[in-house]
Symmetry: C2
Subunit: 509 residues, 2 copies
């Protein structure tokens, strides 16, 4: 860069860093809200957060800031995978998208989100979709408008533009193709398992597992796999999540039930996977800027799923962990055969609720939502017809009929919060996690032998170098290609599930 370019670059970075600082302050307030803020504090807390967010929005849509970015975009080859190019590319992209949305629309969406979540909650409690229908209809229309505007001047349609918000550069058709690849073998595998000769003894996991012991156990496991507690912490909340409050401050949150061991443990491993990704970003130099920010939600989810499932539900992992688990939960696990335990945590069973689903059927829940939300945004499905379409798909894909809308179409908060194009990133994460696991195994040798000894450092290091460090310098597509040598594909996931689950369930051939 010449001196002028350098000055522009420094100026936009400074502004983006300031926006990130204020945003991280707002996120700290949100973390506090979700970990124990006094009940009556919520109204003012909402004001604090929205004031900070408005400041962030102002900084990110500022005219001079945008002009500097546009000028840099013209002078620099932003297609390069280096930090400067990624910074200009990412910031310009965000600025342009923000600029396409009129302030009035942003405000209407923001209001509709707050109202939407309230009414959704009410509607779900009353088990009455009719209460939610009008606000969902408005939200669909606002999201369509927002998608249409963001799509202007691109080759995307409205849904594609919404998807692009969460999964930059991903195309609807490409995802559709990968999901189609996944659907048939998955449905087949799940059907086989349903009628399999062996079935797990799930009651092992429903015994008494004192919450205090679960907390200590989960924390210890998170530490062992590599979550850095000098740069993060683990807390309790009602809806687990992971949030980053600074370059060296990543908070993960989990939830524990005394009669269900997998919830707290795998929830913690899932969030620790997200957390280790955040801790592996180059935040020292690039916090709040594209090189130091996560690549996409799909990549993020690949990290959580890798630790939760590929590792957390593997036999080799439990070869190491099981004796420790027996120490923590001696009264419930003493005398339980390790193989029975391992089988139980790999229970596959179609169920109603996405967030409680196992790692195989989970994807069917997502595929349903992906199809339905596209149809809603494209206008081929009306909100009035949504519950019937939902139930129909649950019958055909999972073989179960939701007994009520509360446990059916009303189960997720996402659409009420305006999150259209978000769901597919969950299954995308599963797909990528399996591809990454295969690539790591190929390059690092016997991963199972390492896990059986509680040695996760080589894998974590590999993820640091091949995934985390890139931030937004590589798109999801390029990251998968560069790291695995192949394009996005469902093959690894299908193979992973088949090869682990079929023998467990006594399926041969």
């Amino acid at each position: 860069m010449n001196t002028d370019q350098s000055n522009f670059f420094d100026s936009v970075c400074k502004q983006a860093r300031r926006a990130a600082l204020l945003q991280s302050a707002a996120e700290t307030l949100e973390w506090d809200e979700r970990t124990g803020m006094p009940p009556k504090a919520s109204e003012y807390r909402a004001q604090q957060i929205s004031t900070l967010n408005a400041m962030v929005h102002e900084l990110r849509t500022d005219e001079t800031y945008g002009e500097n970015l546009e000028s840099l975009s013209q002078q620099i080859d932003t297609s390069q995978p280096n930090d400067i190019a990624a910074t200009v590319r990412g910031l310009t992209r965000d600025w342009r998208r923000n600029r396409k949305l009129p302030t009035d629309l942003v405000k209407r969406i923001s209001t509709a989100r707050v109202r939407g979540q309230q009414v959704w909650d009410e509607s779900r409690r009353a088990d009455d979709f009719a209460i939610f229908a009008p606000v969902l209809k408005e939200m669909v229309s606002l999201q369509r408008e927002s998608g249409d505007r963001m799509a202007e001047g691109t080759d995307r349609d409205a849904y594609g533009a919404l998807l692009d918000t969460y999964e930059p550069d991903a195309k609807t058709a490409e995802l559709q193709q990968v999901f189609d690849e996944l659907r048939t073998p998955l449905v087949q595998l799940i059907a086989e398992i349903r009628d399999a000769p062996r079935q797990p003894k799930i009651e092992i996991l429903e015994r008494d597992f004192p919450v205090d012991a679960q907390k200590r156990f989960s924390r210890w496991v998170a530490e062992q796999i590599g979550f850095d507690f000098q740069r993060g912490r683990l807390d309790e909340t009602s809806h687990p999540f992971c949030t980053t409050l600074g370059p060296h401050d990543c908070r993960i949150l989990s939830r524990y039930e005394s009669n269900w061991l997998p919830g707290g443990l795998f929830g913690t491993m899932h969030e620790a996977g997200h957390g280790m990704y955040e801790q592996g970003l180059r935040t020292d130099d690039w916090f709040g800027l594209p090189p130091g920010s996560y690549g996409s939600l799909g990549i993020h989810e690949s990290q959580s799923r890798l630790w939760e499932n590929q590792i957390g539900r593997s036999r080799s992992f439990w070869r190491w962990l099981y004796p420790h688990a027996q120490n923590y939960f001696s009264s419930s696990l003493s005398g339980v055969d390790p193989e029975d335990f391992f089988f139980a945590i790999n229970t596959i069973r179609p169920s109603l609720i996405r967030v409680e689903a196992d790692e195989a059927t989970y994807n069917l829940h997502i595929l349903i939502r992906f199809d339905l939300e596209q149809a809603l945004i494209n206008g081929t499905l009306s909100v009035a017809d949504l519950p019937e379409a939902w139930n129909e798909r649950y019958r055909s894909d999972l073989g179960i009929t939701p007994p009520s809308d509360a446990d059916g179409v009303l189960q997720d908060v996402h659409w009420s919060a305006g999150l259209f194009g978000y769901f597919p990133t969950y299954t995308l994460g599963n797909v990528i996690s399996a591809q990454l696991h295969d690539a790591a195994a190929e390059q690092l040798g016997d991963l199972d032998a390492m896990f059986a000894q509680g040695n996760f450092q080589p894998l974590l290091q590999w993820l640091r170098e091949n995934v985390h460090t890139h931030g937004q310098c590589l798109s999801q597509t390029d990251l998968v290609k560069q790291t695995t040598g192949a394009s996005l594909s469902a093959t690894s996931l299908i193979e992973y599930l088949r090869s682990k689950l079929r023998p467990l369930y006594g399926l041969t051939g």
Copy 2:
């Protein structure tokens, strides 16, 4: 107010509320920092807090804001005790004070505070005053400059102006007079107690009191005396404090040691006293504005001391609480005579460390600091001579010689943080708490009978109406006069201590 005045008034209130909102966000970040933030997050956290504080400062020193305030000040009778007058008076006062301090001086003080606390910490660990001396010297000079500037155009000297920061409208000479009133009877009482025929069995309090039980007990007591957990919470930290993060969000923090029961319990009652004051302010309408803000540090401390000492160390309170305490700590307290327990928590014994001092000797610690910090600011005592002056006063006033500077002149963080004029508010709080207690007893009847039944509602209600609700509408002087019918005076405090302690220690006559 006419329309113009109304518009000005709305505009300054809006700006002050915005400043309060950003400040409360910064304080939330600080609360988080002191309750469990990951160790490596501190550098960025400091940036977040200072960025928010800089925004607050900008809002509060804004030119137009000040002009509006000045114009209102000329048009409204600000001597009235009503909300509008108090708002204009308080905001104008703050604006003028801020304006008198050049930005450069504010920055130098801010840097010196950070550096001062670091070097103080280092110096105390090394037990070497020489390390701290140069930064303290600089801090004294900065504070003197700041005091001089704030004193310009007033009848105050530099120290008086610093005092005014924490205790608005209080005069050094008036405090000096009340403290002088207090000194001789206090020194005499403490000497009598030292040689008294009966002495407490303090080991009762040094038995094993499991920290978990202490936490539950302290929380329960805080709830019983009236701290509202719907609008606040209680946490653990290394240096207990109370902070308000919104109109309905007051956080109190305490600390527990397994072999010292009084620390955690009375620490919690102390902070709950602060917290109940904050919860009694009219924050619904006036959060962040003078009518909804605490009157002075002295008033604040009167509330914490009232609950900690006048109530928490009274016989009637323990008539109610002791059986509960025996339930919480059955192994350590079963068989302990209530009277022995009560005597033990009223142990009076000169000691080195202010924060560990009992309610009588505590004031002597403050009187020493009050005299020494005045001499430092006035230039009649040099920093080089401070340790000797400190030790000399401990010998003469408390009869003990600090064995080291670490446990002597280096024990408090205050001066390193630039807090000159702050110490006297502690004893002022003790003085006021005794006056308020007497007034409440006179107006409410038999307080002891109420406490003996665990009934604190009448007293809390009286404090709400007579103290809390006034916010900054009444100065400390006016508040004491209006509520107690008398001027500030040490008589109540002396009488309270003598009448409780002399019989306990078997002193007659």
